[in-house]
């Protein structure tokens, strides 16, 4: 690999140098001496072969093939960046994928080097550029390998809301008879705005029909699933949809709401709960993105600090992750300055060939600290109580209670792991987390954005092996990392933040006497917005995106 790389660089440099010399000589003669007439010579014969070729286990630098496109784009993207595309070929697009995988994929030594000419498209070739290894639990080692059109990627990351009802659905049973419940609703959304004094889609409501279509027992073929997804996760705003739901008390109701562009509220609710043993703070934190999540979690933590809470229950049951920096800030605000000083929140493990560098961009492999200031992501702060660069509040706790489900994923798990890395006790109440210690930086090439796992996150003690999730200690699960806590089923009969809601109640009880409630076998729930450990296909996306694209609500019973 190295020899081939050197040869190609040398050849390119020589060509550039030769070109520069020719250019310099040609430009230095002045205008007084006309150039000699061109000599009539025969054109050189065409090369024996056109373009680069594949040689097994010989990899040229990915940069050799980057942006060499069969159908180059021109102009600028919606973010104003000029497309870097140049005229190239399909084989160059595939060879870029192959070399990029070799350079950045976490398990690059487990990828079988196949001839790209055997694949009709770059996308099809990319699909095999991954490990086929299986974890001891039976799960595929790599569940997060996918691609999408760059136009779709850019639209999504720049949108200020996605069409929907403002309700997050929990898929308790994905196949008929389906059990789909409302997990929570966004404030001021169609789902939460009362109609005649009644909240249309309260937590726990079961979806029976939409527009007269039977959500429970209908849509029994694969071909019908897109229609089901469209009903549950509308792709356009401004459409009226008539629901039939069953409330937690068994009452059935019908109503009509209009889809709208929904912006997710990161911190859904907070509580300060007085108990016999002091005050306990509660924060329902549903996403570490977008950038505004930073401000919301800081203000929530500041309120907890002002309230003088003795303990904190951080509800991450529906938090599928987002910005690792905000996760690091969150951990800092829990643990405080003395426990975090000089320690790493997350260290990055790249493939064995990367050495001390981040192979994605060639920069030094620097860990993430426990960020302790307000970061400037370019989004104005909505309150003058905070300013960029200001030190964060902290609770200075040596223990935290985290509420979890299979939807507790990625950056959420980084909080758990990061705190454990500095000996802050994490008590996990709920269900096994999703098990995604991995990350990637999406990369565009020639109009398609590719996601391939590039790093694994380790804590300050270099622990990173939680691909089967963190598991409450009293679980019967064979795999996963068992940590203190209790298995408790998500309780859709109570509002989030209600001290009698089962997960929060279990945390409060555990805090007082160190015991778990009896008979709390948690059914695995696939939260629609985030993939659970048994979700097929791409992970970690919004509900509409995930289910629209995967097009399969069914899961093993």
């Amino acid at each position: 690999m190295g020899q081939s790389r050197i040869v190609r660089i040398a050849t390119t440099s020589a060509a550039i140098a030769a070109s520069a010399l020719v250019s310099a000589c040609g430009g230095g003669g002045g205008a007084s001496t006309p150039p000699p007439p061109p000599t009539q010579v025969s054109p050189p014969p065409p090369p024996a072969s056109q373009g680069p070729t594949w040689t097994q286990n010989v990899f040229e630098p990915a940069s050799t093939f980057k942006d060499q496109c069969q159908s180059p784009r021109s102009g600028t993207d919606i973010e104003g960046n000029t497309f870097p595309d140049q005229a190239g070929s399909l084989i160059e697009e595939k060879l870029w994928l192959r070399s990029w995988t070799e350079e950045t994929y976490l398990w690059n030594d487990e990828v079988v080097d196949q001839d790209p000419n055997g694949f009709a498209t770059a996308q099809a070739y990319f699909d095999v550029l991954k490990t086929n290894a299986v974890e001891p639990s039976g799960e595929d080692r790599d569940d997060f390998h996918f691609s999408e059109l760059t136009t779709d990627f850019l639209i999504r990351r720049n949108s200020f809301g996605n069409p929907g009802y403002g309700a997050e659905f929990a898929i308790i049973r994905g196949g008929p008879p389906r059990d789909i419940r409302v997990a929570y609703t966004e404030p001021n959304s169609p789902a939460s705005t009362p109609i005649s004094g009644v909240v249309p889609l309260p937590r726990g409501a079961r979806i029976l029909e939409i527009n007269g279509q039977d959500i429970v027992n209908g849509f029994n073929t694969q071909a019908q699933l897109p229609a089901l997804n469209e009903l549950l996760f509308p792709s356009t705003s401004g459409e009226n949809r008539t629901f039939l739901v069953q409330d937690v008390d068994g009452t059935q109701r019908s109503f009509t709401i209009t889809t709208a562009d929904i912006t997710e509220k990161p911190v859904l609710t907070t509580q300060v709960i007085s108990t016999g043993g002091g005050t306990v703070g509660y924060i329902a934190f549903n996403t570490f993105s977008p950038f505004a999540s930073q401000e919301e979690i800081i203000l929530a933590m500041r309120d907890m600090q002002i309230a003088g809470v003795d303990d904190l229950v951080l509800d991450l049951r529906y938090n599928g992750g987002g910005l690792l920096a905000v996760a690091a800030q969150t951990a800092y605000m829990i643990a405080g300055s003395s426990r975090t000083a000089g320690n790493d929140f997350e260290r990055f493990i790249y493939n064995d060939d990367a050495g001390n560098l981040n192979p994605i961009d060639g920069t030094p492999n620097d860990p993430f600290p426990f960020f302790n200031t307000v970061l400037n992501f370019g989004v104005p702060l909505t309150t003058n109580q905070l300013s960029f660069g200001q030190f964060l509040p902290d609770l200075d706790l040596n223990r935290v209670y985290i509420l979890s489900t299979g939807g507790t994923c990625s950056a959420s798990e980084a909080v758990i792991n990061g705190l454990r890395g500095i000996d802050v006790e994490v008590v996990l109440i709920g269900d096994t987390t999703c098990g995604k210690p991995y990350g990637f930086v999406p990369q565009d090439n020639c109009g398609r954005t590719y996601y391939t796992i590039q790093f694994q996150g380790a804590n300050n003690k270099d622990f990173a092996a939680y691909a089967d999730g963190f598991v409450p200690n009293n679980s019967s699960a064979v795999f996963g990392v068992k940590i203190p806590g209790c298995v408790v089923a998500d309780d859709f009969t109570k509002a989030l933040g209600d001290p009698t809601e089962a997960l929060l109640a279990a945390a409060l009880n555990y805090r007082l006497n160190g015991t778990c409630p009896a008979n709390t076998v948690a059914p695995k729930t696939l939260v629609a917005s985030k993939s659970g450990p048994d979700a097929a296909g791409p992970a970690l996306e919004t509900s509409a995106y995930y289910l629209r694209d995967v097009r399969d609500l069914r899961r093993p019973n």
Partner: protein, 117 residues
Amino acid sequence: MIRISALALAVTVLAACQHNGDDPVPAVLDDMSDATMQSLKSALAASLNKTGVRLADADLTQTSLVTVVPPPPGPLETRSTALPIEYRLLLAGDTCYAERSSTGERIDLPGVSCRAL
């Protein structure tokens, strides 16, 4: 007494050195015209091997802190390493440049003029 005088002299000399015209001092832009901002962004983008960058809102004629902000994470990025990157505008003699706060990397800024803060 002699020791104290020597120390005071040394401090004075050191302070004088710090005001030497070639030592970098915090700086701000002379103007935020389109041309200046384009030059600034182009230089920073090139240093990051990007085709373009977005800067956080700031009056760079009043503050020397320049922040390159990351693009927002996409919905599939659940462990995004996106971070803002901070630079300080510095002036050494007549040369204006940006220094990356985390690494000390110096980025020359052709087409950008500064004044000492």
